[in-house]
Symmetry: none
Subunit: 369 residues, 2 copies
RNA sequence: AGACACCUGCUUAG
DNA sequence: CTAAGCAGGTGTCT
């Protein structure tokens, strides 16, 4: 079957060494967003994200993973690569429940039909060999998870966070302008977002139905648009079907009806790829337990801190977009500041022309003991 | 048998116009609780509740109904009174299965013996003419069912919710003081918060019955302490060693038999009763399995140490979460430190804003502190 | 096979 | 504090 790395057309793409994904849903059910992140060996990061106007927390969680897996599909990967997620639903579903579902006809333990079957089936098809899923706890600590959460939350609120483009900022096979900074995306369109052509999804493949539930609600609409450079089939082709609501005596429903809204998926720079198959998760002879989640994240933090130090030492002014990237905060949260503020060990001063400068803050350190 | 021992103190007791009951069981099987509620014509409410250290959801469901029926026994009732429950097991058992069981020797349709026979027999004996059982769906909506659920859940967790005393308010508040004594509807005792004296040992009446069922687990011993205005009774030295200690993570079995646990039933204001369950088997101290793959671990240790050095050299402040990641200690174990501490070759100093800074400790070889 | 209930876990929100 | 989205499981009977 598919030996993974085909003739690798991308010049010297560094391998992916870490990955994470997360979903958010504002209201649950309600408008949702997802975020994913790929960390490369050269230290660069590629971030993905998208929104859905009416969905559930779990759908977003699955969607994030799906987008990530599809992006991973044709990238070189470090053998120890694992995907960090806080969703037990995702991990258990993929690793333990899915086999049973397929065997027993997509029935839940309590008799009902398995929800989100469309996504589960696509996820199953998008598995990437050798990549394990590791669970990280919800909100405390993990920087990659936090970052994905921030992306997801931003999208779920209709905002458009800036996303890192990834290595080189462009694709070797096609010379591209590396944008990524400048331009000030914020207001309207995004830095990376220009959508060329909608294009129908090339391979429909899925849409196998799922259907069945609840006469009630009706599907919430969702659609995804991938943006990036010009390519076809972007990120996540729209999935379809199913909208929450389960059994009972008419107790819940997603939304009165319709109002399908649009969703969007953005990505730092390109992404495409389709797929093969393989297996993610634990196989049988598990030689690789998920140990060691710590170092990469800290390493990356250190990189940013040292970078900040050099920027401060050099007295360089930064645009708001650059600053947002450095401090890893949504642009939105910075844009209406007007005077000096503090970030970690630095003071950030306005330069007056819309730019900002870092200054290392000694901050009282006194004799211990 | 109903002997109302003392001079019936209820002068003009208003009739009961509504009633409900529910059971809960934390873990199933596991520690359980039950709750019941009587609504009187004058608008007042009397609430009952109790706990059992090791039981099942269905036993608690039956127990709640039993306590309710026994309380109803000698109260004036509105002719339209019905009991609201969400347990089909209770309703069907009482209304359709029980006759067949008695006729066919307490055999289940599939051959086995009927479980909880002790409770079923007592329920059968405690039927109150003219009172019907009506089914209400589990969690949504019904206020009386919700209230009973809350009482049951609270007891199942070892808490003691405040319970309305009913008409004529007895003893409104009375903190503490434990008098737990007295007669209980179910296994034997009851006590009322305010009744000072129960004396005479009331006959345990039924406790024996229980007998053999328990196919799988249910052996729960139980005892109740109740209090109530209406009866007296007394007896049974309540208490018992209570030892709480819920099985934290383990999976305990209910123990085939023996080791009777104690439960408690309260009514109205609540006294101090005991709650508990005593069981103690043998301490099965679950030794923590110290898994620790050695060889590759050192490699990443080095990475972490070097990283720490650079963070120290840069004077960077770290959040607690980041610190936890660096030193590989649970966040929990760090979060209540307030002054400097040592980790390996570094001193960790508080910066005052919730962050911490590393400082390389030169004299790491002497015993400081 | 069906029904009701009782939980456990994770996440998402207000 | 509350509630929803999701799963797996037991308690019990027919």
């Amino acid at each position: 079957m598919a030996e993974a790395p085909d003739a690798d057309p991308r010049g010297a793409m560094p391998p992916v060494v870490a990955a994470a994904c997360d979903g958010a849903c504002s209201g649950n059910p309600g408008p949702g967003g997802w975020g994913a992140l790929l960390r490369f060996a050269d230290g660069s990061v590629r971030e993905l994200g998208g929104a859905d106007g009416a969905t559930t927390n779990n759908r977003m969680e699955l969607t994030a993973a799906l987008a990530l897996l599809e992006a991973l599909q044709d990238l070189p990967r470090d053998p120890s690569l694992s995907i960090r997620t806080d969703s037990r639903y995702l991990i258990d579903g993929l690793q333990k429940w899915l086999p049973g579902w397929k065997r027993k006809g997509w029935r839940t333990a309590s008799g009902g039909t398995v929800l989100n079957r469309d996504l589960w089936e696509r996820l199953d098809r998008s598995r990437v060999a050798g990549v394990s899923l590791v669970h990280v706890r919800g909100h405390s600590g993990d920087p990659d998870n936090d970052r994905c959460d921030a992306i997801a939350v931003a999208f779920s609120r209709g905002q458009r966070p800036m996303l890192s483009p990834g290595p080189g900022g462009s694709n070797p096979s096609r010379p591209a302008r590396a944008r990524t900074t400048a331009a000030s995306p914020l207001s309207g369109e995004g830095a990376t977002a220009r959508v060329p052509a909608g294009r129908a999804a090339a391979a429909p493949a899925d849409s196998a139905a799922s259907g069945a539930n609840r006469g009630a609600g009706g599907a919430a609409g969702r659609a995804s648009v991938a943006a990036g450079r010009a390519d076809s089939g972007g990120g996540v082709p729209a999935a379809n079907a199913e909208s929450a609501a389960r059994g009972g005596s008419g107790r819940e429903r997603v939304s009165g009806e319709g109002a399908p809204r649009q969703g969007a998926a953005l990505e730092g720079v390109a992404g495409e790829g389709v797929a093969g198959e393989g297996v993610v998760g634990e196989g049988v002879a598990p030689a690789a337990p998920p140990l060691d989640p710590a170092p990469p994240a800290l390493q990356r933090l250190l990189g940013r801190l040292e970078l900040a130090d050099r920027l401060a030492a050099g007295g360089h002014g930064l645009s708001l977009a650059e600053l947002a990237q450095l401090v890893e905060m949504p642009l939105r949260s910075l844009e209406n500041r007007s005077d000096s503020w503090r970030w970690r060990d630095w003071l950030v001063h306005p330069l007056g022309d819309g730019r900002w400068r870092l200054e290392r803050d000694a901050q009282g350190l006194q004799a211990p003991e």
